[in-house]
Amino acid sequence: MIIELREFTRVEGNGKAEIVIEDGEVKDVRLKIIEGPRFFELLTLGRHYYDVPDLEARICAICYLSHSVASVLGIERAFGVEVPEEIALIRELGLIGELLESHALHLYLLVAPDVFGYPDAIRMATKHGELVKEGLALKGFGNRIRVMVGGREIHGINVKPGGFGRYPTVEELERVETESEALLRLARRAVRLFTQLDPYGAQAKHFVATDGYLWGEKLVSDEEGEFHYTERIEERSLVYSFAKQSRYKGEAFFVGALPRLLLKSEMLTPRAKRLFEEHRGKLETGYVSYNNLAQAIELVYSLERANEIAKTLLDRGIEGENIPVEPREGEGIGYVEAPRGVLIHHYRIDGSGNIAYSNIITPTALNHAMMEASLLEEARKLYGEADERAMIGRLEETVRAFDPCISCSVHLVKL
């Protein structure tokens, strides 16, 4: 017998799951990504590098800036271009804005209704209006940073190889400094709220992240030093899903807020670090549901870090100079931490600056096997115990904990 779950709600994109029951037991779970394929690697093939980050941004609306930055990093590495601290800091600020926007959307509008027992945030707002407003305030701030760095709320084109179309102004940075300070109180409240969630889903055995907090030169895992994705991560096609599945040394692994905290806690800002230490015991169990708590702690991190970056840029002043980019034949990989985990953009570029090879692996694709493992674990626990509605509800929450972005997962390709 196969129990087919309806399409997931309160996630980005279209996906569903099937539970396979044999002899009264849960035998298997299949996570089906039914969002149509979007062929981004084919789209960028043969295109001039300068236009590519704008196109790649269209992979995902929630984390378009992560895609633009990963794309720009891949291109710059292929050309051997290094940018100065000012440009790096502004990019980081953009990614911080994206983290705030995306985590606030996920925690307050998509997950919080589960905590309070409502079908959505709009209906939850009748009784918990303050909380919804707090979420929207954090999200709005994140989006203002995205407009400032990325050019607009969704699919901006301001992030370019070698710099930006337009640089932030002093007034804008001053606003970031004040607002980040003021919003910290709300983020700390979010941490208290999401500590209440039960542990569910599987306990991850392997964690993978980039070597820096929001981007890196390489990847790192809990059991070894730095590596390139090509050395450890394998992808394979599935007959039941438009998304491919990735494995780390043959096994399911976890990318996202929880892996970031566990692997890189020494890079956290002071208050975020204290909160991490306070909840370390819980987080180290590795239950995927604690990804929600980890995201709440990252809200605190993001606000503190946004404040630091704004201060640094205001102290040193903005020069607003782009680095000249000369195309040459080369290969480069951009590793970025999108809000929901590691994002990889890998390009080979020819002598005239056109893309000759492109491979993109998104966090949802990296987590695909881990999501199935979590659904299997949870279905085994609940099948026959809970009624079917309750079981399906919890399975949906389990997938939601990954903050999956289904649209982005459907164009991973090896050419």
């Binding site: 149509g36 394929p37 995902c60 378009y64 709009i122 969704i154 337009r166 039941y240 050419l415």
Partner: protein, 246 residues
């Protein structure tokens, strides 16, 4: 109090941005909810209780059999259907890969089969009649707000009829095509984004598709040729978000 209009948001294959952009209306979303009741919107709610919609917003391209079924369901059960965003109105980026579906799938998934029934990505407007088409990748959220408010008040929403260039002039942005020689599609692109890319000092990438009517893509083509962009580059640029006929 009058009955609220039933609003459905349907997502076909896309980046999720056009649905997400509705949530970016913030307090204006609550203003809309004075007139509308959301009965289908899977990104935002676990409820799905509609079988009739006064207004249906459809985002994304038809890229699978599932998308096509969902689109037909939305059309058959709605009074007023809006194709929302450039995927729905012109196909946007995913429709610009001009290989047959079989070859595309082979390049990505490595076999000849099509078990999930993928189709060549096409805009919503190629399959069903729509009552209003609002492009943009993403569309301007204030524009959709205005359109929904107009409908709620019984006014037929008005289509804009000017290119992005006009919005540059109104904002007094420097012309990046003439002054910097950047490839800017502003002169032939349907306005309504408030020239957001030129605000960053960069060229319009044409994400709202061609302005219907008097637009002159041949003239734009000549200007870009004079700026020494090659043919293939220009044609690709024209075809990225919408399939222009230069």
């Amino acid at each position: 109090m009058m009955d609220k209009l039933k609003l459905g948001v349907f997502e076909l294959t896309d980046c999720g941005g056009c649905a997400l952009n509705m949530l970016f209306l913030y307090e204006k979303l609550f203003d809309l909810l004075e007139f509308y009741e959301i009965t289908e919107f899977h990104m935002a709610t676990s409820l799905s209780e509609g079988n009739h919609y006064d207004v249906a917003l459809v985002t994304g391209t038809v890229s699978t059999q599932r998308d096509l079924n969902l689109l037909k369901e939305a059309r058959n059960h709605s009074e007023y259907l809006i194709a929302l965003g450039t995927c729905a109105t012109h196909g946007s980026v995913q429709a610009s890969v001009e290989l047959p579906i079989r070859e595309k799938l082979k390049a990505v998934y490595g076999d000849d089969g099509n078990p999930m029934r993928a189709l060549d990505s096409k805009p919503v407007v190629e399959y069903v009649a729509v009552d209003f088409a609002l492009p943009g990748c993403p569309y301007d959220k204030n524009e959709v707000y205005q359109v929904l408010m107009d409908i709620a008040k019984g006014i037929e929403p008005v289509r804009k009829d000017y290119p992005v260039c006009l919005e540059c002039k109104l904002n007094e942005y420097e012309c990046v095509l003439v002054k910097k020689g950047l490839p800017c599609l502003g002169p032939i692109t349907y306005g309504g984004c408030n020239a957001v890319c030129v605000r960053s000092g960069l060229g319009c990438i044409g994400c709202r598709g061609p302005l219907p009517g008097e637009v002159n893509p041949a003239g734009e083509y000549e200007i870009l040729k004079e700026l020494s962009y090659d043919d293939e580059y220009i044609v690709r640029k024209f075809k990225t978000f919408a399939r222009w006929e230069p």
